[in-house]
């Protein structure tokens, strides 16, 4: 566990390359920032694929020990099946966003340096690097630093246009995020004080069922919930995600909220796999269920498309938290149901990342073409922007859980686990959430596909290539559902600390 494995240097590259890109883009500045990003995309994407291949082939986590210092003194980067899956998802979504954003944030002729494009390109790769650090970090303090990097990278994306409204949204986001990370850090201190290490692997062997652990876990979970925007701490999300430019919204809604969710998963399933309190897990599930109902109902009531999509994020985050009551080992007689719920939760995280990014970008294209995003004015949209509306519909399929999308797989697995474990109340919530999601997706599609005016006035034409990028990403969300379940087990089992011990009674 404490030794570096072959391929470990790939993990360092996955974090170092985007960060080096950030510095290079800042140094060169201006019109070169975009070129740096475009050069970086294929390389970093290939590294993510390579890590996934190594994890797949060896069937064991890939690890890299910084400077050869083994924990508890040193710091370890580790890629298990879950990390590899998230690395791949991030690479796909970030590449799509970059291709989509290229014409919007292109360097203008004759202008040496414009603020918004430079900031966007630099922060795009900064967020990528921070996310990779979160997926790979092996100790809680490295994860804290990565989490802060992620916040600092994501927050300015909210207020790229510099309007008072978005600045206010960004400030609110930052304050929520800072409060969350302070609580997380407080939990980290308590864990270090009680167990003398922050390495996830070592902690898993040392934690005991005692007040210090409960308080630390409660503080860290509460802080991370604020960052993930789980109900009732979701208030910052809709204005922040709806106010940002479409490309930035896709990044924030698809990927950034998954970063802090991933840390909660690490905490509950890697640090204290056997000690998670069943009532606490049920509590998280209740919050998730409330988020599903509340977010969906609010999404149904929005007049503007981007706010609708943002509230749908609140609802879909709720599904992620059903993972805790359903996959927690403390509840449920059969371990296999736990495994299914776990895989379902991970696929939900991946498919929501892809589908929501596609949906936000489709909403951005619609907004650009029409000059507004009021749903009431969408009559006849399907005739003028067929590809975009198709992409919106396909990503909507994944959100509401229609087969054969990734969202269907995820929700079907969670549903099966809820029924199989006898926790039927979650099944009711999952089904109700699916119906409500269909409601808000069709609220957009119905006027768009209905006749409406014959010639819808367009205030700008959008390029076919950008429509194609969005459609391709939406198709990725669809194809996720076709990944056979059997191989997807590797994503749930490889490197799950304690999975083996727990199965033995």
């Amino acid at each position: 566990m404490s030794a570096a494995t072959p391929g470990g240097f790939l993990l360092v590259l996955a974090i170092m390359l985007p960060m080096a890109g950030v510095l290079l883009a800042l140094l060169l500045g201006g019109r070169h920032a975009e070129r740096v990003v475009m050069a970086l995309l294929p390389v970093s994407g290939l590294i993510a694929v390579a890590i996934a291949v190594v994890v797949w082939r060896t069937g064991a986590p890939v690890a890299y020990v910084m400077g050869g210092w083994a924990p508890p003194l040193g710091v370890v980067f580790r890629a298990d099946g879950l990390s590899a899956a998230m690395l791949l998802t991030t690479a796909v979504v970030v590449c799509a966003i970059a291709l989509f954003a290229r014409p919007v944030f292109a360097a203008m002729e004759g202008v040496a340096e414009a603020r918004a494009p430079l900031v966007f390109w630099v922060l795009l790769i900064a967020v990528w690097g921070a996310l990779n650090a979160i997926w790979l970090g092996g100790d809680l303090f490295t994860l804290y630093v990565a989490l802060e990097l992620l916040t600092f990278g994501a927050m300015p994306l909210v207020c790229l246009d510099g309007q008072a409204e978005t600045l206010r949204a960004a400030l609110r986001y930052l304050l929520f995020a800072l409060l969350g990370s302070a609580l997380y850090l407080l939990g980290v201190v308590l864990l270090y004080g009680a167990y003398g290490t922050l390495d996830i692997g070592l902690l898993a062997g040392r934690v005991r069922d005692e007040p210090a652990l409960w308080i630390a876990a409660a503080l860290m979970t509460a802080g991370l919930i604020a960052k993930t925007a789980l109900f009732p701490l979701h208030l910052w999300l809709p204005p922040a995600h709806a106010g940002a430019p479409a490309a930035a919204s896709a990044l924030l809604s698809g990927l950034v909220v998954k970063g802090s969710f991933f840390l909660i998963v690490r905490l509950w399933f890697n640090v204290m796999p056997a000690l998670a309190n069943p009532w606490a897990a049920q509590m998280l599930g209740v919050l998730g269920a409330a988020a599903i109902i509340f977010g969906s109902v609010l999404a149904l009531r929005q007049a503007r498309l981007k706010l609708l999509v943002a509230y749908s994020t609140v609802a879909q985050i709720g599904y992620l938290f059903l993972l805790f009551p359903l996959a927690s080992n403390a509840i449920g007689p059969a371990l296999s149901w736990n495994g299914i719920a776990w895989t379902g939760g991970v696929i939900q995280a991946m498919s929501h990342a892809v589908a929501k990014a596609a949906m936000f970008m489709a909403a951005g294209l619609i907004g650009e073409a029409l000059g507004h995003d009021r749903i009431a004015g969408f009559g006849g949209l399907g005739r003028v922007l067929p590809m975009t509306v198709l992409a919106f519909g396909i990503s909507g399929m994944s959100l509401m859980g229609l087969p054969p999308s990734g969202g269907f797989m995820a929700k079907a697995m969670l549903l099966a686990a809820a029924v199989g474990e006898g926790q039927w109340w979650w099944a009711v919530v999952i089904l109700l959430g699916g119906v409500l999601a269909a409601g808000y997706v069709f609220r957009v599609l119905m006027p768009a596909l209905a006749g409406g005016e014959l010639a819808l006035p367009l205030c700008a034409t959008v390029s076919r290539r950008r429509e194609a990028v969005v459609l391709a990403l939406a198709l990725c969300a669809l194809l996720l559902g076709l990944v056979p379940v059997r191989p997807s087990e590797w994503l749930s089992q490889i490197g799950r600390v304690g999975a083996a011990q727990v199965s033995a009674p």
Partner: protein, 94 residues
Amino acid sequence: MLFGLVGAALVGLGLFGVVVHPHPLRKILAFNLLGGGVFLLFGVIARRGAAAGLEGDPVPQALVITGIVVAFSATALAVALVRRLFQVMDGADR
């Protein structure tokens, strides 16, 4: 022990301030109070873990420096954001 209690009190005060005060600048100050409490707890834990003839456990001390740097940059970022917000709002009023 005393430092530990003071740290806990600071955390409580800071948390109260962040939640209760409506003004962003006060919220930022309260966040710093909260951060100060957390860092003090780091110090307490470093002192407590001082076993092998050392003055203090170096790991929490190393962590706290990183933490302070992060909190400092977070504060700078937040204050810059508040300044910009007020500039923009002033411009809108005129």
